[in-house]
Amino acid sequence: MPSERQSATTENLPERQSAVAENPFHQLRCVRAARMVRNSGMQRLIATLTDGDSAAALAEAQRLRDAGVPVERIVNEGLETAMEQVDAKCTVEAFNLLEIMLVGRAVTVVANELYLRGIPPDRSKATVVIATPEGDVHDLGKNIVTMVLTGKGYRVVDLGRNCPVSALSEAVEREQAAAVLLSGLLTTVIPQVRRVRPALAERGLFDVKILAGGAALRQASTEELDVDYVAQTAFDGARLLESCLAERPA
């Protein structure tokens, strides 16, 4: 093959990186992030996470913990800040799974190291249940949302793909989840999505928010799906989740 080809690392994306660096929103986020960071170890953690370097991020997180930095601080100032930085550069127009997956993988590796089995309920922002509805076996989008939300401090109960509505509503009740997230690549799952709200209502779960996303579902309106929000990207979903949970009565 032609020799001018470069290896596929994010370092080979000069156009995109310069565009991101010039983005004023991104610069503001960086300033804010810099203020939050109180030592170079945390800065290194954020840098390795946003580079998608799992092994280096894990080493930095372990070093911070061994130096006595509380786990909550590593999550709040390290993982969440890294996710905010990636969030800022990912608009609907400039969003690609590969870069998110790399950061998401690094964040998940660190989160699993810090908490062993994901973020526990008493330390998370909230618990959410996520699934690809019955009739659809694609789960790439769902996995990415899971990584993004884990990085943002949510406890995510992942029910996998091809998930029946009954299993969803049961899990929401059992886990006392604040929201259900549904990801669908195929339009044929729409009838399943529409059944979620009535299934939750049958269990008296009227306050649980329902969010939908994915290649097929993002084409639809909230009315067409009978959900509270339709997200265009994983970060869009995380922002919608943040705002709808903030609106909930305490």
């Binding site: 690609n96 195929l186 290649a215």
Partner: protein, 337 residues
């Protein structure tokens, strides 16, 4: 003008009697005929019969010789699960981390997996439509085949963790697509479509497309032209604006424009490339026939002067689309003639 002449003229930006209309009907043809999808994607004669019926019923300007995106992967050893009402999917990928890429060998379309059945379908479609209506032969693009061989997440991580192995995989996928596409053309396909949704900017950054996928697509399309393709068609879904500018270099004659891309912006970028699109696929399920007809007429008018436009859905027509909505799309091109 017949459909083939109409499409040929449109691709060349010459005057046609009306705008061609090609809704991307794949397995919706099976649903329309009341046939299980598991049968449709395994039986070439059945596939051809369903496609012929769909073309006759709707009056569209092309037929598709396409089963699903897993045909090549299955021919290479992946194991699939088949479903009555849905496309098959890979349950066990041929390329596991311990398998060297060079252990895979390019499948022979005459005998590997379901490939011979699609060749049969192509021959039957060509026999039916002769040179009256184009038969579109569809192959999975390099990035999509790489994902179908290794798994979507594994293939993407491979690109970063083991770039050399990933490039070997892309090269292999390109050689496979090339041989399969040439076989489809030899079997009677007029047009070669490369179906590569995994190459979308929603999945990989534009620089990734430029450096890793563009050279392979260029190689594919050049080979298909040499093999006699009337036109080449690149199907990448999603917001493709950032990569459209590379399409002429790749040798693309027809560029798919999805519903979330601006067709006029696409025309600005691709002034000499025929566009197809771009009605929201879900509208064929949830929308009304009036909405589809109105949107179709708007698009036809938008491109009436400049030409080089095929009215279509932004992506595949959903399996459960309402037939009256597809009929409404087709009706939109007749109101201007």
């Amino acid at each position: 003008m017949n459909s083939l002449e109409r499409v040929r003229a449109t691709v060349a930006f010459e005057k046609a009697d009306r705008t061609p209309v090609i809704p991307q009907i794949f397995a919706h043809a099976a649903v329309l005929a009341g046939v299980p999808i598991a049968d449709y994607v395994r039986d070439g004669a059945l596939l051809a019969r369903c496609q012929i019926e769909a073309v006759r019923q709707y009056g569209c300007d092309a037929a598709f010789a396409f089963m699903d995106a897993c045909v090549e992967s299955e021919a290479l050893g992946s194991v699939l699960a088949y479903h009555e009402q849905q496309y098959p999917q890979v349950v066990s990928y041929a390329l596991t981390p311990d398998v060297p890429v060079d252990r895979l060998s390019v499948p022979d379309p005459q005998c590997a997996g379901r490939m011979p059945e699609l060749l049969r379908a192509t021959t039957l479609l060509r026999a039916e439509f002769e040179d009256e209506l184009p038969v579109i032969g569809v192959v999975a693009g390099p990035m999509t085949l790489a994902q179908q061989l290794a798994g979507p997440e594994a293939a993407l991580f491979l690109a970063v963790d083991e770039p050399q192995r990933f490039e070997e995989l892309l090269d292999f996928a390109t050689r496979s697509a090339l041989r399969y596409g040439q076989a489809l053309l030899a079997a009677g396909a007029h047009v070669a479509m490369v179906f590569d949704p995994a190459a979308s900017p929603a999945v990989v950054p534009p620089a990734f497309f430029r450096e890793l996928l563009l050279p392979r697509l260029k190689e594919l399309f050049a080979a298909f032209k040499k093999a006699g393709a009337l036109a080449t068609w690149l199907h990448i879904a999603g917001a493709t604006e950032q990569i459209l500018g590379y399409y002429p270099q790749a040798g693309v004659d027809i560029a798919n424009v999805d519903y979330d891309a601006d067709p006029l912006r696409a025309r600005q970028i691709l002034s000499h490339t025929c566009l197809d699109g771009n009605i929201r696929p879900l509208s064929f399920v949830l929308g009304s026939a009036d909405e589809i007809a109105t949107e179709g007429r708007r698009l036809v008018e938008l491109f009436a002067e400049g030409g080089g436009f095929i009215l279509s859905s932004g992506c595949e027509i959903p399996l459960e689309a309402k037939p009256e909505n597809i009929a409404a799309l087709v009706s939109a091109v007749h109101s201007d003639s």
